[in-house]
Amino acid sequence: MKILVCITHVPDTTSKIQFTDNNTKFDKNGVQFIIGPYDDYALARAVELKEQLGGSLTVLNVGEADTEPTLRKALAIGADDAIRVNAHPTDSLFVANQIAHIAKSNGYELILMGRESIDFNGGMVHGMVGEILGMPSFSPVMKLEIDGDTVKMAREIEGGKEQLEAKLPLIAGCQEPIAEWKIPNMRGIMSARTKPLQVVDPVSDEVATSVSNFQLPPAKGAVKLIDKDNVEELVKLLKNEAKVL
């Protein structure tokens, strides 16, 4: 089976979020970048499926040259080859057009990605790619098994989950517990250095949105501590001061 996994290159979840240039640019100073945690789940499941069914596993990122270490990490985890679309990804439609173009030319049967990126939290790229390609898309998928040309999935719904079946080819936006994150081993890291990483130019420059500037939420005030033997006081404060009861 030919699998494509689309990954984002995002600040580590412990990063302090700050902006520069008059709040128009993300401040990368001191920030470590990782494979998006949801994309990492998708990748881990794809590696398992490849082990089980054979075939090929390609990872794709729309990003500038500084995302290559992230792609190499995906290669170390188990992807066979990588594609980087050389562009700054600021708009979901733009990214979806790039992915759809590459998917169309290479005929992947299964396209996996995270349910959303943890920087812009849009959760829309999988659906857009699906619509552009005329392929079904499902999200958030927490279980995915392949049985011939049938894909058996569990999708999280608010307050529970539903079991689904669909035919290949399809697209899934993934989340846990679809698989456990994989940590690259030494052999993986060594072999990743020589696996192919192809850089291609973007196909269209159409965008639907652009960010004019960023803002940070107001700082939180200090905590008010209440004695553990006086919980009635807490309830009073919640009612009369915070007015939330």
Binding site: E158, S210, L225, L245
Partner: protein, 322 residues
């Protein structure tokens, strides 16, 4: 021109977050002179429920009663909404951000050649261009986003806008749409959901437990307090990873993002990834036996103490209030 609203429903009731989306659409239409607010319900749902969209601000409700649309089938919902959008001659679609909403809106954006902005927290600013404020980095920042397409889809963050209940009652009108087999490419074979529970993503009050509770057998304390407060229950990631609680209760960066009026965290250390899922809460109460727990830095009120001692007392104190 008009503003269309996509209504989600569960257990036969229109979701609160969808009614918030209706109130947002009404405020938007008042501000921009964007015309009627038309809400759309898909699948089996009674007229009384649909009519609630009227009190939230809709002037009309359209109902596509096709049984097959009762479940949230992404493609079918997108196709149905696209057809209604075109028939109504709408210029903007508003919906609540949710996992289903995201997926449907994404496909709709391509179908309608519309710009989609997700996690919207305020009305657009249109003095120069069309700018929308949205929440990004899992609640740690906002982006003022310029929209450059004529058709717009705005997915409103839950609990970010006021729900209005002073609208007039709206007439419910039946409409039908053409759906193809391809729209039903995914077959739902089973649904596993507790009925009648307060839905965590849109709850007004949430009581969450962490590893400090020691084991699933101790969740009764969390549930009792939640019941007293009319709250939904949540948990930290390790708690759902070990299987103490179901996955859909996992709150945080990689789980459900909540934005309640009151978030009560019990025995949760307050790792940055957990905080990312709760930082939009209006008021945070932390109960932890470790005075150094990082969660206290993000809290409004805190009690340093053993959950097993404090929780029963707190439940009694809440009861006494009533």
């Amino acid at each position: 021109m008009s503003v269309l609203v996509y209504l989600e429903h569960a257990d036969g009731a229109v979701k609160k977050s969808s009614l918030e989306a209706v109130s947002y659409a009404k405020a938007l239409s008042d501000k921009l002179g964007a015309g009627d607010v038309v809400a759309v319900g898909l699948g089996s749902i009674v007229n009384d429920e649909l009519a609630k969209a009227g009190t939230a601000g809709a002037s009309k409700v359209l109902h596509v009663s096709d049984e097959r649309l009762t479940a949230g089938i992404i493609q079918a919902h997108a196709s149905a909404m696209a057809e209604v959008y075109k028939n109504v001659g709408a210029s903007t679609l508003v919906l609540a951000k949710s996992s289903l909403g995201d997926a449907v809106a994404a496909r709709l954006a391509v179908k309608l050649n519309a710009a989609l902005v997700s996690n919207v927290v305020e009305l657009p600013e249109t003095s120069a261009g069309y700018q929308v404020k949205r929440s990004i980095y899992t609640g740690k920042a906002f982006a003022i986003t310029e929209v450059t397409k004529e058709h717009k889809i705005l997915a409103v963050k839950k609990n970010a806008v006021d729900l209005k209940t002073d609208g007039a009652s709206a007439a419910v009108e039946a409409v039908s749409v053409n759906l193809s087999d391809a729209d039903f490419a995914g077959k739902i074979t089973a649904t596993d959901k507790a009925e009648g529970d307060i839905l965590l993503p849109e709850a007004d009050v949430v009581v969450s437990g962490g590893r400090g509770l020691k084991g699933p057998e101790n969740w009764g304390m969390i549930e009792t307090l939640a019941k007293e407060l009319g709250a939904a229950t949540g948990c930290s990631k390790p708690v759902s990873d070990i299987g103490w609680r179901p996955h859909h209760e996992h709150v945080g960066q990689t789980g459900v993002k909540v934005a309640p009026t009151l978030y009560v965290a019990v025995g949760i250390s307050g790792a940055i990834q957990h905080l990312a899922g709760v930082n939009s809460s209006k008021c945070i109460v932390v109960i932890n036996k470790d005075p150094e727990a990082p969660f206290f830095k993000a809290a409004d009120y805190g009690i340093v103490g053993d959950a097993f001692e404090v929780l029963p007392k707190l439940t009694e104190a809440v009861k006494a209030l009533k």
